[in-house]
């Protein structure tokens, strides 16, 4: 199981690397227009913020390495982690179904898939979620006049 301590150290280290990468990208900004003669170049502010978050990330790593040795876990149980990950997967898949096949097919499968991901067994809940999905479709399409594609 992933402990909070390890998770935080990995995340902060990742942020430092990302800050370096984005800071390097910012070095490549090209200002072509002459419209604004503002005192600060375009790269200054993003690099300043990246610097701030990298320093904070460094402090967070130091905090977890030196002070915080508690054995806390990111997820309470492994099935919690599984449900979280599965529902994330379902949403990403549904996003692509919507893009490729349209809204109605997505709305039809999204509810049942996410309930399966959460391990729900009661049929009643499937029916309720389906009904609510239909209701959302009706409200947006007919009441608000939005084309959901």
């Amino acid at each position: 199981m992933l402990s909070k301590r390890i998770g935080n150290i990995i995340f902060a280290a990742f942020l430092i690397l990302a800050s370096l990468y984005f800071g390097w990208l910012a070095e490549g900004f090209e200002t072509t227009g002459l419209l604004a003669t503002s005192g600060l170049p375009s790269k200054f502010f993003p690099q300043l913020m990246l610097g701030c978050s990298a320093i904070c990330a460094g402090i967070v790593i130091w905090h977890y390495v030196v002070h915080d040795q508690k054995q806390e876990f990111v997820f309470v149980t492994s099935s919690d982690a599984r449900r979280g990950a599965l529902i994330l997967l379902v949403s990403i898949i549904s996003y692509f179904i919507w893009r490729e096949l349209g809204f109605v097919p997505m709305a039809v499968v999204f509810g049942p898939l996410s309930l399966l991901a959460m391990g729900i067994k009661q049929i009643g809940i499937y029916v309720i979620v389906w009904a609510l999905s239909a209701l959302i479709w009706v409200i947006f399409t007919f009441v608000l006049g939005v084309q959901l594609v």
Binding site: T32, G33, L34, L35, A36, T37, G145, V146, Q147
Partner: protein, 322 residues
């Protein structure tokens, strides 16, 4: 429900093949893409246009605002939609001229679009606070040569900013330019003392009847009839200093994607006719300029005149895309 839809799709497909194409258009809501924020002048007139189209076409016409990103995301959302008349575009000087002239854009306005009409328009004017030491344009030029004044514009790269840049280059001035987001905000910033001089529109004066601001000059070459309505007696740069350039060109209207069937273009043109009638024009807010041009060829010629006007200006300022 679904069966019905399927049947409708089938009929439509059949109709397409039989050549009686789009006799049914429009059969679903139309999306009217506006590249400005909700609530601004361009958005207001676009919403009024949408209402007229909706009334005459019998389907909802939904305005969708996609502001920012140098108008490119909004323009591209229309280019990427099918040319079926269900996505229409509110064209404007930035999206059709200034941006394509100054940077690489993934679209070409007159190749990717067919413009149908132009309505909203504007001319820029230079304003100062009532208590400003500059009473005439000449005094202002003297003052601006002596001190680096702060000039307010709505957005960097928008027509008022171009007017300011052109003013500076023609008269050899240097300004500190502050962008205040909208024209009314620029005028408010002038009253509040944040800036010394503001580039507003000729019609902006209607919000300040109590004399909080004074117009110095109209930032244009030749005098146009409609200027007299807003700023009677105020000279243009071309009148005050013959030979100095101060051209702007601000029009806006509706365009559809190139390749849209002629029947749809004709229906849209017919449905937009009332926008050129007095009943509609009288409802356009006083602080918004309006100049009606209708028809594909007429509007294309108008846009071409704008491109011809902006190209040398932008080139002179070193901004033209090479």
């Amino acid at each position: 429900m679904k069966l019905l839809k399927l049947a409708a799709a089938g009929v439509a497909a059949f109709g397409f093949m039989a050549g009686a194409a789009f006799a049914e258009w429009p059969e679903k809501p139309i999306t009217y893409v506006v590249s400005f924020k909700a609530g601004g002048n361009a958005d207001i007139v676009a919403r009024m246009n949408a209402e007229v189209l909706s009334e005459n076409l019998g389907v909802p016409v939904n305005v969708v605002n996609k502001p920012g990103g140098a108008h490119i995301p909004a323009t591209m959302s229309v280019v990427e939609a099918p040319a079926d008349g269900y996505t229409v575009f509110n064209w404007s000087p930035p999206s059709f001229m200034i941006v394509p002239l100054t940077r690489d854009t993934p679209y070409k306005p007159l190749e990717d679009f067919v413009p149908l009409f132009a309505g909203i328009s504007a001319s820029n004017a230079l304003y100062v606070r009532a208590d400003s030491p500059y009473n005439t344009f000449e005094e202002f030029i003297e003052g601006a040569k002596a001190n680096k004044l702060t000039i307010g514009v709505n957005n960097l790269g928008a027509p008022p900013n171009l007017s300011a840049v052109q003013l500076a280059s023609e008269f050899g001035l240097e300004f500190k330019t502050i962008a205040l987001k909208t024209v009314p905000a620029t005028m408010a910033g002038l009253i509040g003392g944040q800036i010394d001089v503001a580039v507003g529109q000729v019609a902006s004066i209607h919000a300040y009847k109590n004399g909080e601001v004074r117009p110095l000059i109209i930032l244009d070459n030749a005098r146009q009839g409609y200027m007299e309505k807003d700023l009677p007696g105020v000279r243009t740069v071309g009148e005050a200093y013959p030979g100095k350039e101060a051209g702007v060109w601000v029009h806006g209207g509706l365009a559809v994607k190139a390749g849209t069937p002629q029947e749809i273009v004709d229906k849209l043109l017919a449905a937009s006719k009332p926008m050129g009638e007095e009943a509609f024009i009288s409802r356009v807010p006083k602080s918004v300029g309006y100049n009606w041009v209708h028809g594909v060829d007429e509007t294309t010629a108008l846009i071409q005149s704008g491109i011809d006007l902006y190209s040398p200006i932008l080139d002179g300022l070193g901004l033209l895309k090479k």
